[in-house]
Subunit: 162 residues, 2 copies
């Protein structure tokens, strides 16, 4: 059974997952955000096979999430840096980390915390509405059809929910 | 080569990915958020094999992200609903969708939009600092060691970055 390409799905979550929805891919992006960018360093840190790592990096480059940069000529060695598209995943990464802190690592056992340099405090990222500035609560938001041809099954559910 | 369990990683991103870091898993959670909860509905909508779907649902139940609920006795049929832990992924899901809207679907081609019921406007979720309330910018935040024994490689990079 061959799965449908997620890229063909009429849903930006599905389309995103086609590009980043795999364990290694997100961990490679996490490492790059911390400055772990060289093939050998990534391989050692992630404990991943060289074949799989090379394939994931190739896909990240093809998808425009990372760029390959030669940092040494003899022997030739590359490092992988995030493009603007890749760097823009920082928000997803922070919220994923906060979810893991809450539900997997547990309070008081956070491996890393986030500091807001501007105010100097340890912070938790919170979601607010771009229109009114109020904090967003789960029950106070709902999905509505957009201009880009939504997935019919999800659209049906939205209509059923009113 | 056997990979290290992500759950053993000293990083909440890694630990989270052990539980949700797989395409199908996140799409199952997305569907559940829209009310697609029955095994047959999920199977049809995702175009996933029954074996893989059953395995993913079992893992989601084991990890406490979903609950199995019998909705029909003869023949026995179950649906899968999100627990509080699962519902709490809504923020990650919204930011992943917004990233996909920006970088994969593209502006003007968003399949779904988000509406803030409280103010009645179409909204984009933005991150603000829990301490000072200001909008968070990527360059204005940094990770710092937490109480929970951070990953030594990432910790080294933090120290190197100052």
């Amino acid at each position: 059974m061959r799965r449908v390409s997620f890229e063909e799905m009429s849903c930006s979550v599905g389309r995103s997952l086609e590009q980043i929805g795999e364990w290694w891919t997100l961990l490679i992006i996490r490492d790059a955000m911390f400055g772990v960018r060289r093939f050998d360093e990534l391989q050692e840190h992630l404990g991943i096979s060289r074949n799989i790592l090379a394939a994931r990096l190739d896909k990240l480059v093809t998808d425009g999430i990372m760029e390959r940069r030669r940092y040494q000529e003899r022997p030739p060695r590359d490092e992988y840096v995030l493009t603007d598209k890749g760097k823009d995943l920082w928000e997803v990464m922070i919220l994923l980390r906060q979810w893991g802190d809450r539900w997997v690592s547990g309070e008081g056992n956070e491996p890393l915390l986030l500091e807001h340099r501007a105010c100097g405090h340890t912070t938790t990222a919170q979601l607010v509405c771009s229109a009114c500035g109020e904090q967003l609560e789960r029950r106070a938001v709902r999905s509505v059809p957009g201009p880009g041809d939504p997935d019919p099954v999800l659209l049906n559910r939205l209509h059923a929910a009113g």
